[in-house]
Each structure stands twice: as structure tokens, then as C-alpha cells.
């Protein structure tokens, strides 16, 4: 009758994600970081996705992100990707720990048009609790969780079983509940993303974000089209400049997943030549 200390590789990933959520909750509580656990085992059981989560997703209060990154680093976590590597919204960075697995730190949620600070504060105001691995985690309220999941499904393409569960939820809502969800989307400036989830993007034809949501919701894989949609979605000069600048950025993720130094000289030139070659072949700019 003895315990066994397993090798790291022997821990099922589904178990590891639960434990990671618990550990991140402990860290946040210990160091006074506001964060919300999203998706996976922290979410409403009806919407827990298929396939199961492979990492622990958390949305961190933007002003607390530097502190939390420092805490993770000092706790043995290693950053694997940068925010700029994440997506058209540059919204998340991946971290890894040998014991706890992967965590996806979000500084913003794709689809919310209000500032990340405003969006987080709105979600925080109606937060609830969920028990994961017998530890308390802080999660968005029910309506807020639905919107978060809907936006995620909208940019993942309409192919996942978890999306079907969400659509069943929408179909079962009363008119008042749907109105409440649409009001929440309006408050967070997430109407276009919600429309993409509901298959109503036509209602937003001409909206700057229309093409970007159409691209992702259709599960397309043409990088040139993606970049054009990103350019069109820029709401001001600063965002336009940021999109253009990111087009020339070479990621720091090396083969094997470690972060490397910013590529310079021949490395940078080589990466850009590779991108141009892909673009000419129809793959677009990565």
C-alpha cells in the first residue's frame, strides 16, 4: 500500500490541465493577481470541449500581467511563445512547467472591441467560482462564459463538437436571455464575433472586422487573405501600423519550442525570404 511518484510523462494530459488550473489559482491568490480561469475544466461542464483542453487557459488583468509573468518565471515556468506569436489579435502567450504542463496566459480575449482593461473589469465584476482539482478558481459569470466560448468557437471554424453544445445552449435560451447575451456583446463591442458564431455575419457586411471573422469562422488557411483582413480590421492608424509592423516580425520561437534571441542579420533575411517564397506559392505571410 504505497504511493508512486510518477514520471512526468506518465501523467495524462487531461489530469495535468486540472492540476495546472489549481496551481495557477494558488499562485494568483498568493501574489494578489486577478485572473479568470476560462475554458476547459473551469468552464460550465456542458461546454467543456471536445477534444479535451491541452493547457490551462487564464485571462489575466492586464495591469497584473508583468507581476504574474515574474511569478511564473521564479516558480520554474518557461515562456514558450510571445503574445505577438499568438494570433491576429496577439492575445496570448504559452508557458510550460515540467510538473504542471502548459498554461495559456491571455492578456485580452479576441473579439472584445473594448480595451483589455475594460473587458477584464467587466468580466471580473460578475465573476463566480468553480472547483477544479478540489481547489477554488475564479471564473467569469455564466453569460460571460457563454460569450467567451462563442467567440472562441467563431474563430475556430464551425467544426467542433463543443460549438454544437454552445449552439444548443443558444437555441434553448429564452428571448430575454438572448437579448441579455446580445446586450453583453454590445457592452464589450463583441457583436461581430457573436454574429460570426451565430452565422449572421451578413448583418455586419461592411464592418471593418467582417472579413477577419469571416476568414476565421470559415476555417480558411490562406495567409494573404488573413493579412488583408487584418489590415481592414484596423480601427485607427496606430492599429494599422501595428499590423504592418507585425507582418515583418520574425517570431522568436525556435524549433523545440524555446524562445530565442530576436533574429538578426542573415537569420532575419533568411526568414523573410522564406516568407516571400510561401507567399508566392499561395501560402501567404506567416
Amino acid at each position: 500500500m504505497t504511493s508512486i511518484e510518477p514520471d512526468e510523462a506518465d501523467i495524462p494530459n487531461g489530469v495535468r490541465v486540472h492540476l495546472a488550473h489549481a496551481y495557477l489559482a494558488w499562485l494568483a491568490k498568493t501574489y494578489g493577481v486577478d485572473l479568470l480561469h476560462i475554458k476547459g475544466p473551469a468552464s460550465d461542464p456542458r461546454w467543456q470541449g471536445f477534444p479535451a483542453s491541452t493547457d490551462a487557459d487564464v485571462l489575466v488583468r492586464p495591469v497584473h500581467m508583468p507581476l504574474f509573468e515574474q511569478v511564473l518565471r521564479s516558480s520554474g515556468w518557461q515562456q514558450k511563445t510571445e503574445f505577438a506569436d499568438a494570433s491576429a489579435w496577439q492575445h496570448a502567450a504559452v508557458w510550460h512547467h515540467p510538473s504542471w504542463g502548459y498554461a495559456d496566459l491571455h492578456r485580452r480575449w479576441p473579439g472584445f472591441g473594448v480595451s483589455p482593461d475594460t473587458a477584464f473589469e467587466r468580466l471580473w465584476a460578475t465573476r463566480g467560482r468553480a472547483t477544479v482539482a478540489h481547489q477554488q478558481t475564479v471564473v467569469p459569470g455564466h453569460a460571460e462564459q457563454f460569450l467567451v466560448h462563442a467567440l472562441h468557437e467563431a474563430r475556430s471554424g464551425h467544426s467542433r463538437q463543443s460549438g454544437h453544445k454552445l449552439r444548443e445552449e443558444w437555441d434553448s435560451m429564452t428571448a430575454e436571455e438572448r437579448s441579455g447575451t446580445e446586450g453583453l456583446a454590445a457592452t464589450l463591442e463583441a457583436e461581430v464575433g457573436l454574429a460570426a458564431f451565430l452565422g449572421r455575419l451578413g448583418d455586419f457586411r461592411g464592418h471593418p472586422e467582417h472579413d477577419l471573422w469571416l476568414y476565421f469562422s470559415m476555417g480558411q488557411d490562406n495567409r494573404a487573405r488573413e493579412w488583408w483582413a487584418r489590415l481592414r480590421s484596423a480601427r485607427n492608424t496606430a492599429e494599422l501600423v501595428a499590423v504592418i509592423a507585425s507582418a515583418w516580425r520574425v517570431g522568436r520561437v525556435a524549433p523545440g519550442g524555446a524562445l530565442r534571441e530576436d533574429p538578426r542579420g542573415l537569420s532575419y533575411l533568411s526568414a523573410q525570404v522564406h516568407r516571400l517564397w510561401r507567399l508566392l506559392r499561395g501560402g501567404g505571410v506567416t
Binding site: 500500500m1 504505497t2 504511493s3 508512486i4 511518484e5 510518477p6 506518465d10 501523467i11 495524462p12 487531461g14 489530469v15 486540472h18 492540476l19 489549481a22 496551481y23 494558488w26 499562485l27 498568493t30 475544466p41 479535451a52 516558480s75 520554474g76 512547467h97 510538473s99 504542471w100 482539482a133 478540489h134 481547489q135
Partner: protein, 101 residues
């Protein structure tokens, strides 16, 4: 008499959360926050942990373990359970609390 309860800083996951069984028998994964390095308990040790999750009094724990393992409560079983409870308490995974006399 000493009673036992799971320490509040312990995260634990029964493998029933997985969509399919991972092994031939139930397992529970336990991690001391923030130490990490999860342990896995299976078989009779899983049964003891499951019992502690529901009961604090050793007599209740032993009865639950005996029922789970489908064996009669015996002095030998009682000794094994106590030793394992103490082992887990020494590791900080369980707390010793004042039970009823």
C-alpha cells in the same frame, strides 16, 4: 483519537475526469501546492484517499476502505490504513485533527 482530512493546499484529481479510463484500475493524482511533482495512488491507496475525502474519523475510513476492497475489517487492515494515513500526514498531504474519543 486522531482524525484526518485532506490538507487545503492539496490539489487532487480522480481519473474519472478523463473521457476514458487511463489504467486498469481507478487512480487519483495528488499535488501539494506549490511543491508540484504529482503522486499517483491506485488500488488500496486510492481506496484510502477516496475514503479520507468523505470521512475524517479513522473508524469510518477503515470501514469505507474495507467496503471498497470487499474485505472484512480486520486488525491487519486497520494497521495498514493507519500507517498509510500517517505516511500521508507526514508528507503534509493530510492534516491531523482532533477526532472524537
Amino acid at each position: 483519537m486522531t482524525a484526518y482530512r485532506i490538507a487545503p493546499h492539496v490539489a487532487w484529481v480522480d481519473d474519472e475526469v478523463l473521457p476514458r479510463p487511463y489504467g486498469p484500475e481507478p487512480q487519483v493524482y495528488i499535488a501539494d501546492l506549490p511543491e508540484g511533482r504529482p503522486l499517483v495512488l491506485s488500488g488500496s491507496s486510492w481506496a484510502i484517499w477516496s475514503a479520507v475525502a468523505r470521512w475524517q474519523d479513522p473508524a469510518d475510513i477503515i470501514a469505507a476502505v474495507a467496503a471498497e476492497l470487499d474485505v472484512p475489517p480486520s486488525g491487519e487492515l486497520e494497521g495498514q490504513v493507519y500507517r498509510f494515513l500517517e505516511q500521508l500526514a507526514d508528507r503534509g498531504l493530510l492534516e491531523r485533527v482532533q477526532g472524537r474519543d
